[in-house]
Symmetry: D3
């Protein structure tokens, strides 16, 4: 039985993340979507709890997928979960170099955990959480980029901010 | 049971290919190393039969790996073999764009076959069959770059060529 | 009145080329799709005449677009046509470097001709004439990648080749 | 009549921006240099008003160019201005991926606005506002990188800062 | 006699930096490792003094290498030291573009100072100070990535931080 | 005394090669421009003898530079010449990956020979021998891209070819 961990910030989860998760869920027996919960990093838009809730709703239809958070290195978390695979979604070349660096460093830290890269569908090639937040912040329509409940959450957050700066 | 196909020219198989094959063999139930046998392409250094023989010797210690040749599109071959996974080894960014193109085109041709990219160990990052041939052609030492029997075959070929051009 | 030249091999024209041509036709008064007719280069799959005929059929619905061939440098041809714009389609980063080189060299040769890069729709990001030929050569389906009459022409060519090698 | 918008931070405008603006002004009937005025982003070196003033002085000799600021998404602003073209300057490959992402996302948001990429002259290939600020901050000479009045403004700002930290 | 300056943040020095320093020390008569001491930049993990002390210990075995700090532009510092060479370590392609930009800008500022790029050994290709800090922050083992005394210093810093957040 | 080898095809030598050679000649005691004489590779435009003659004329003003040909691996040739440095000119990122691969493979073959990369002046960033030949083949002006006697040789060759195809 192969357990795979897909670690990311998921701030928030996009249709690109979902596409990678669905592909990975077909390949491995269990898939854990693992939110990086990093108190020392720059403040995310959504709290760890909010991100987990949105992800759970987004993957509710995938029986072998569960959602969790981690505060350690991704490989250490994977090891604790008896996972042998780290899943990463690849988009464009600049992504690639970063993933390469991480894969090689992770390999040094835990040689028995394999990094597996999947490529999201072409329509998600240029999609990222930051792009989604940028668009939503200026009132743009993110309907086709994230699940409906995430689009609603983004609208809520940015409407509140606008109120606050009035 | 997941069957995976790792298609390439393998002209000849290098330690980088072997590293990827060993990683893939741990992830999937069956792995098929599939040599592209393309009569219309530029003549390979080794015939399809020679390449297969060298590969069989190189993966003899991996029980769930077998070696085969294919003359169709990789996805079509995978489909014939009931495989649901295409394995690709990633090295550097220029590789990546080509793999991306192939993955997306393959996805259009056969949506149920997933392309899975693995990253060879860092020591193989800059290793390719062409680099190995270039070095061997000028009498350089390829001992650490390919299995011993492949190094011997390369020496044989280039010694014969030198004889011939005398 | 701005005349633009879109020079390429178009061997054969793909839906990606067509997408770029349609965008350019909206931006400039006249657009010339110019086939590079290079007798010293490696033999194309389709003759210059065949390529022109397929392109004419493909752009028949675009009133301000015409198709032509050229044997000189692209900037020289543009100059002969009183064009002030060279149109190029950008796909991925490796494309980009080549385009950059050409744009800068063209700028040295003819400072008053501007290179304008358009980005094909995301679904064509990884589409190229060579990929199309590769797929068609192995009997793959290219229906969504090229116009119907081009798909038919590709099928004809590769069926004949198969006959010939029997 | 084609109206084009060239949106950027212009913090401050460089000779590379100016080169792209001059090229675009020859291609389109009206060109609007549009300063991104983003209150939530990290504080720019120059205020929106200062950036606009420096840009107006820099493009005073170009009759069909005007300078403006915008607070929405670039495509939304373009739409308000009846513009059908977004102009972007390309320098090196990393630029390119970012531009690609933006072009594709903008295309989703407003399919009738075309992103047109121009390549600045080779001498500006490695020039950016951040590089200019870095050099000026350490007292380096930016005379050939920005218009004279921008060089003077940079000197003024960094001299004041030095005073302040004494 | 050729004096070379190798400027970087060295926050902290890694085995990759050391590898480049050792290569450069063989090529040039004197090599100065120069720590960028930038009060206006984001706070480094280690103070300039701590970074210098760790570097001195790391290069104690290299007789023609000394360690210093600089607060100006790198080329200006090199000029003050009568150096004619700036040494840079290259890793992957994204590095490259940044180095290219710096090399060209430095060339404009001081045409008689040559930028020389060396490539660290393959095992350091994906190693950076930030990666090291990321790993150490989450309690990962950095023994093979930095000299022993640097590994100890990292452990000390992050243990203190953990204490503090309890 | 440091001897450096700058190996390339030099088919023909361009102003970009010359710029790198001049920079390297200032850094090292002796610089050897070494033409790759590869009988099995695709036929160069100029014979090894012609390339050497053109290079000798181009570097006649550089006292510590000599021109030679080699038929082995570059590192082997360097070793025979007691050289400890291989010089390479870097232009754009795609170059870089290839150079990286070669540098790492050379390092495996001869650990005591250091690859040193220099960056040609920005005006040569997009200049290559193939671009020069492409332009000359179509009658374009290459005056600013190569030394005058090389421009003359290119004109001669392509005029003869034109005669021949009449």
């Amino acid at each position: 039985m192969t357990i795979a961990v897909y670690p990311a910030s998921f701030d928030p989860i996009t249709n690109g993340h979902l596409d990678v998760a669905q592909r990975a869920a077909r390949l491995f027996d269990t898939l854990i979507l693992a939110v990086a919960d990093r108190p020392n990093h720059k403040t995310p838009l959504f709290s760890t709890e909010e991100r987990i809730a949105m992800m759970r709703e987004a993957v509710a239809h995938l029986p072998n997928v569960r959602v969790d958070a981690f505060r350690t290195l991704a490989v250490e978390y994977a090891d604790q979960q008896q996972a042998t695979v780290l899943v990463r979604g690849l988009r464009a070349s600049t992504d690639f170099e970063h993933e390469f660096q991480m894969a090689h460093i992770n390999h040094r830290l835990a040689a028995d955990i394999e990094t597996v890269c999947l490529m999201a569908d072409q329509q998600y090639t240029f999609l990222s959480s930051s792009a989604v937040k940028e668009i939503a912040a200026y009132g743009g329509d993110v309907t086709n980029l994230v699940p409906p409940h995430v689009a609603a959450a983004l609208r809520r957050v940015y409407d509140q901010r606008k109120e606050a700066t009035r």
